[in-house]
Amino acid sequence: MATTALPTTGTLTAAPAYEGQSGIWSWLTTVDHKRIGVLYLFTALTFFLIGGLEAEIIRLQLQGPNGHVVSAELYNQLFTMHGTTMIFLAIMPLSAAFFNFLIPLQIGARDVAFPRLNAFSYWVYLFGGIFITLPILFNVAPNGGWFGYAPLSTRPFAPGLNIDFWVIGLQILGVSSLAAAFNFITTIINLRAPGMTLMRMPMFTWMSFVVQFLLVLAFPVITVALVFLLFDRFFGTQFYEIAAGADPLLWQHLFWIFGHPEVYILVLPAFGLVSEVLPTFSSKPLFGYPVMVYSGMLIGVLGFGVWAHHMFAVGMGPIGDSVFSLVTMLIAIPTGVKIFNWIATMAQGQLRFTTSMMFGIGLIALFTIGGISGVMHSSPPADLQQTDTYFIVAHFHYVLFGGSIMGIFAGIYLYFPKITGRMLDEGLGKIHFWVNFVGMNLTFFPMHFSGMLGMPRRIYTYDSGQGWDTFNMMSSIGAYILAVATMIFVYNFLKSRKHGAIAGANPWGAGTLEWTIPSPPPEYNFAVLPTVTSRYPLWEGDERDAESARINSQEGKTADELHIVLPYNTIKPMIVAGSMVIMFCGLIFAKPLIFIGAASMVVSLYSWLLSPLEPEHH
């Protein structure tokens, strides 16, 4: 339907996907950022379904008072794993899928700066994700909540394996995120095509750039916090040992120094995606580009100064409370600027309501609600009534689901054609949007009420007569609707991958560099490195842009024919990743594995580092 009405440019033949690159082995050994991006996409979507399934069971349990679908023990594992999965295994990697696939295309590069490191990041993520997810099948999944407060997570209070999986799993995932972040920082700084100045970079790349710095600065802190916990649990140190006089707030501070930047890590890529979607479907450049850049940076920097707003109830004292409160409120300003600039981007445009656009607008509408409730938490006395209730749960689902997930869906609908060469079904897409939109609000809006009416979070059961029954029922119905929405999407995704309409290079009439190359892009992305003279080379560029776009949209030639040197495929990063995970498994299962894993890791690492990346240049 709507697809046919869209302007399409470029030739309408589906480029054969990754010629000579099929079969399992090619996926295991690939170092191509696009294929790694696809791996990330599929893996993360799978984890999203798993996290969603966990949420559905949570909602089933809470549908009415005194529910007994699951036991207290299992419930606690479910919400811990739901939060952990959604944050570390679904949204972050979904963003990573876009980093991988898009950043090199948007800046006119042939690959990321360190292709093998990139593969390594993915494999570490996959193995780490499996490591932390599997235990729930054996009823030993992590059960300390997604922020695993000490001392509840220490050995005396959590003697089982549950938290071991969590500590080690997060440690593993941290390696993946850090490695990827160094890679993308370098890529964005150093691999921009000629003329692609920083202030011409597409907004998605910009926001990703900010996110990489957040990762690089936030993850070491949680690494340290987790190391302490790991040492406490395995080697008898006393960092969180209350009997030894430890201060339980140490964990909280370290966690949230990571945790708050983390929430911007989750939302800024979505902001970036929406900043691509809105101009595309408004046929107008992004409004206030420089301000959008600076506000993104400001959000990132301020994000390091607000962590203790998660701790207004811990008794920090009036000075600490006030300072963190004020800095938190400040963040509303740059975020507001983004919201208004997006609306201004749409104003005076010619809006096309594709599915992608609808999700993009959905983000503006819903994130604002979450942002406003965020500001409500930022007032410490008021937060004393809100913290640890469903009001908070409402807030963070509005920003996470209404922000990150909506943005990511907008991105998936926008970039699916670029990734696969085929269009997603727009009809199903719109149904998906509306069911999703209704379900989302029905699930999470009532939580504002149940929270302010006194319902604490993380309770596996509640009594009748507390005034919460109706709101919980609404939330549960909403969650079932969301499940339907998600299934529609999954169906659309799987079907269109093989049977969608052929997309062509630029099905949406978008303006940025990635739309100048065929869909899916050839291995080498750009036959010639493009010359960039403007922010939207396809809209505003001069003849030089047009010329490189013309050459690049041609297809058919192989890298060899074009004398483009591509890195060798290699299995080594995967072996290093696997060895590392085996090493960590040793802590839990059998000590010898530690040495086997470490030895194998060192050997494969040397072998990786000492083997050439690519053929000698001619």
């Binding site: 700066a113 360190f114 850090l178 972040a181 160094f182 890679n183 920082i185 370098t186 890529t187 700084i189 150093n190 691999l191 921009r192 095509a193 000629p194 692609m196 690089v216 600065l217 936030a218 993850f219 070491p220 802190v221 690494t223 340290v224 916090a225 190391v227 302490f228 040492f231 080697f235 008898g236 140190t237 006393q238 960092f239 030894a244 006089g245 430890a246 201060d247 140490l250 370290l254 120094i257 036959a527 010639v528 490195l529 493009p530 010359t531 490189s548 074009l562 004398h563 483009i564 040197v565 240049h617 001619h618």
Partner: protein
């Protein structure tokens, strides 16, 4: 001005690896700050001794000296600082490999192998000091499990020691390459990156030495 297809064009003209190592060092700042903060936060909060700067008598009457040994640590600090000097000389030797060496001084200063060995050796000496320190602490009754001070002290200095160890291995790897095929200006960047890492580990020690050892 579009770049030739095969060349590895970079926007800044800088080598990607060097950008990455600096980003890595930035990240390490947060790592060590977390560790140092923890040490300082827990300073004076241990319930039982031994303590860093104060003597302590246990309820059972056992007496413990202040545990930190400033003279020994000063010596090891000196060693680490000198290793940084050796490291810059190693780098400059690699960079200037092709320059003619006229005097003995030139030849000594120009020997990358000498300076790499020297750096690695000084690094190892530092680690030796640390091993000595750790074992003597354990003998005096302070282990990583004893109290908050023990946990945070050993973890902080242990993390630093692990970084030094990794650095030594890195240096030995470079040395192996130097013996196999010689390191020349082409490799300067590789050596430079190792050097940046090495110096960073050194500056972290400068901070630790003051914050942990000297301030009471």
């Amino acid at each position: 001005m579009s770049a030739p297809a095969a060349a590895h064009y970079t926007s800044t003209g800088l080598d990607s690896r060097k950008i990455a190592i600096w980003a890595f060092i930035g990240s390490e700042c947060m790592l060590f700050v977390s560790l140092i903060s923890t040490y300082l936060i827990y300073k004076g909060r241990s319930i039982v001794g031994p303590f860093p700067h104060e003597a302590w008598t246990s309820p059972s009457g056992q007496h413990f000296k202040p545990i930190l040994n400033i003279p020994v640590t000063s010596a090891s600090t000196f060693v680490l600082l000198m290793s940084s000097l050796a490291m810059v000389l190693a780098l400059s030797a690699v960079q200037n490999k092709e320059l003619p060496k006229r005097t003995t001084g030139d030849r000594i200063l120009g020997s990358s192998k000498l300076w790499l060995w020297m750096t690695a050796l000084l690094g190892t000496t530092f680690l030796g000091f640390q091993a000595f320190e750790f074992t003597s602490f354990v003998h005096e009754g302070l282990t990583i499990r004893t109290n908050l001070f023990g946990s945070s002290f050993f973890t902080l200095t242990g993390f630093h020691g692990a970084h030094v160890t990794a650095g030594v291995i890195w240096l030995l790897t470079l040395l192996a390459i130097d013996y196999r095929r010689g390191l020349g200006p082409k490799d300067a960047l590789n050596v430079d990156i190792a050097a940046l890492y090495w110096h960073f580990v050194d500056v972290v020690w400068i901070a630790i030495f003051t914050l942990v050892y000297l301030i009471k």
